[in-house]
Symmetry: C2
Subunit: 361 residues, 2 copies
């Protein structure tokens, strides 16, 4: 097992990464103060790991309850979070309780927001079971839900007490979900880690075959890159925005096509390629570098174009309600070089329109 | 105008208290960074003060939008907060926007929670227009909504950028609402300020006649008492719990009778008397002291008994879902002496039952 510490003063917490961690109860129990534990999971993950996690906690020592949500980004809503509040109140959970998010990013984001808001804040633990949530959403304390008019528009910064990443759970992940996670892995490489990009390019076939020892390294490197950025800028007033590479484009794709059509990571794959193309049009990247990115995404079985009809003006409208908009200006994350992202406010509108028109057909 | 500073390091903010403040635009504008301003108010307050506040801001300098909510505690729900999110997104409000809560405690609590959660946190300003919100809920950063199973169960700590208290707005407050505010004023005196209690006892007739110069003193003293406690314990891990004197009982009354029957301050009046009675049964207070408290509440035209049938066991059940419950134990705020409250975990259950039975008939 490898342990990474996310350094946030009194809010610091460990991220445990390894195999067989869902057999090690003390990783969880040492971070649980009160007696009441609410496990939040979904209909896909519950049959696989819910009983295992419950048995780890010891029924005698804890009052364990559970909420099993529907699976899918389209359920990441305030109404679904309210189901968690219902369960907490029906079981008389008090401020000393702990919520455990067992599942992918959607479960983690909603459980975290419920923990942030229940009685104005209770403890929670992340047990991410998808590659995407292991390398991205479980780390850093961003929680929240979607609104019909925009993705992740309602939420809170609320850090977990620990993150337990058992890469064995990736065994049960379907190929499409696995590829979606690779999109966020590739993001870390593109935005700030050229060595990691070369490693991914060299080993993409073994990584797609899910070589287990490589999995631990892959997740560790991704979490380390993210933890370093979050430790410098927890509330995203500056550098943390770099983690949104491809996300303003990607959110617009999800929002325009409707949640549930694309997996989040799939939309981010196309979104990153759009950001990379704009970086090329702006003169930062060469055509060859764009091709390298496209090649890596394709070898990860990720989409590189929008499958579905989007009108360019609708796409632009969806982009303008993103959280990266400040006083009407859309801030974008572009690449100066491969492995070197920056926050760009002064791109040319006509070049942005060209990228959107290219992708929106 | 008097200015009080709530000292919370980088989250510190001023509380302006005086007459005619809703004619002084710079009190607001110096705390607004971005261009977008959303005024949240209700159907009662909008006809009285909405246009005045809008004209203060200057339509040319700001993009001003508004949400007018239904008036009443029964509307303090997640669904109503969602109306604020709808308005923010429909008007494309970004992270640099400012929300202004114009109204009583319900408007302030919901606007604050919307500000805490929109895009994971935006700025907000409190303009409380009721006595209760001026002396209590607008100060200290507690925000949130009710759930069918418990009061204020969903929320966040989110501090405003400033609080503008214009006591002239009390001119339009009906007598019942004014008395409800007096309940929270009396609370500060009972829990920690014996001099203030004597002042209230001596001047209750003038105060009920709303002598304007006395109003400013009354609000200032209440806010100062609250600010001192909040500055020591923002997140209520200790001393701040004293501010809940009468609230565990009061919330149970509101919850059992249904929101909208009692005003919050009315329920707190009865709740404080229940806490005072338990303090007497426990041997801390004399019968004469209980009578003094009852007399002051009566002279403030506040209820001293529950008007409506509550079954004692229902009352007990409602108490046990309060936020002051830790690992199954209901913590209560009792009085050692008048003006000296403490957090009590070891009261006798039979004495608590006796109080509940006395009040539940």
């Amino acid at each position: 097992m490898k342990t990474l510490n996310l350094d946030l003063a009194e809010k610091s917490y460990p991220i445990y990464i390894g195999q067989g961690l869902l057999s090690q109860g003390e990783l969880l129990t040492k971070h649980i103060n009160g007696k009441q534990v609410m496990i939040v999971t979904n209909t896909t993950v519950a049959p696989l790991y819910l009983e295992q996690v419950k048995s780890l906690l010891g029924e005698g020592d804890h009052q364990i309850s559970q909420v099993i949500l529907s699976d899918g980004e389209q359920y990441k809503t305030l109404d679904t979070v309210n189901l968690i509040f219902d369960a907490l109140l029906e079981n008389r959970f008090d401020r000393s309780c702990t919520l455990i998010a067992l599942g992918g990013g959607v479960v983690g984001d909603m459980t975290g927001f419920a923990a942030a808001s229940y009685q104005r804040g209770v403890n929670f633990i992340q047990i991410p079971t998808t590659l995407l949530s292991q390398v991205d959403s479980s780390v850093g304390g961003k929680t929240g839900v979607n609104h019909a008019l925009g993705k992740n528009m309602i939420g809170a910064f609320h850090q977990p007490k620990c993150v337990v990443i058992d890469v064995d759970t990736l065994d049960t992940l379907d190929d499409r979900q696995y590829s979606a996670g690779m999109a966020e892995v590739i993001k870390y490489a593109l935005l700030g880690n050229l060595d990691f990009l070369h490693y991914l390019q060299k080993n993409i076939n073994e990584l797609m075959a899910r070589d287990k020892s490589m999995m631990i390294e892959l997740v560790y490197q991704s979490c380390e890159d993210k933890a370093n950025i979050v430790a410098q800028d927890e509330l995203e007033v500056g550098k943390r925005a770099l983690l949104n590479l491809g996300h303003t484009f990607g959110h617009a794709i999800e929002n325009t096509l409707g949640y549930g059509n694309y997996l989040h990571g799939e939309a981010i794959s196309v979104g990153m390629l759009m950001a990379v193309k704009l970086s090329q049009f702006e003169g930062y990247l060469s055509v060859d570098e764009v091709d390298q990115v496209q090649d890596l995404l394709e070898k990860s079985n990720l989409p590189i174009s929008i499958s579905g009809k989007i009108i360019a003006s609708d796409f632009m409208a969806a982009m303008s309600v993103d959280k990266k908009v400040i006083d009407g200006n859309i801030r974008l994350i572009l690449l100066k070089k491969l492995g070197d992202a920056f926050i760009c406010n002064d791109y040319q509108d006509k070049l942005l329109n060209r990228v959107i028109n290219d992708f929106c057909q």
